[in-house]
Symmetry: C2
Subunit: 119 residues, 2 copies
């Protein structure tokens, strides 16, 4: 559980940046080299590499080197951690709505009974 | 668009912490005062308030003060920003899968034609 939490922290932190989200978006269309990924950004390569490393250490992307080229692929399973957490929250909200509905229905039934019974 | 991106940065950063995610989870069951929220955490009130303020400034929660009590409510719309971003990514992946499928199908059709035609 602690492990899952740490993982989720790292993934959310990695995604909390527009450059890194653009990289994720680009890799959603297929693998790419660091050179290709860096091209649309007005940024030095060392600055760009910091973003790549943050994404890699969070597990959101995987990289591998062949000769002088570093290739990057998206690891969708890591994004699923965020999906799972959000789904868990939605479940809590719907439980709450159900309880609220049951409460309102019960009150309504109670009142109907009260009105029928002589006081 | 820049505004949406900044908002999403703030929401993702706010969620990238286990204490803050526990607060969001608790508020998913209904509004609560800061005192109630702080109770399960082994933390000083000033430290806890920092988390509350991070959540508030990201818009994930709203707070209001009545007398000496500060109440907190969850703002689900802010979490929907994360949902929307994830949905956008999934759409890109499915486009890619569709294109890949079309490519494989085309290659298969090409080969079938090649095999029929005299070389």
């Amino acid at each position: 559980m602690a492990h899952y939490r740490d993982d989720l922290d790292a993934v959310l932190l990695a995604l909390a940046d527009p450059t890194r989200r653009r990289i994720v978006r680009r890799l959603g269309r297929g693998p790419a080299s660091v050179g290709e990924l860096a091209r649309p950004f007005e940024m030095t390569l060392p600055s760009f590499m910091k973003h790549v490393r943050t994404l890699e250490s969070s597990g959101v992307i995987r990289t591998s080197k062949t000769g002088r080229v570093r290739s990057c692929v998206l690891n969708r399973d890591r994004l699923a951690l965020v999906d799972d957490w959000l789904a868990e929250q939605r479940e809590l909200w719907s439980d709450r709505t159900d309880r609220l509905e049951a409460f309102v229905t019960d009150r309504h039934a109670d009142r109907a009974t009260e009105q029928k019974e002589p006081s």
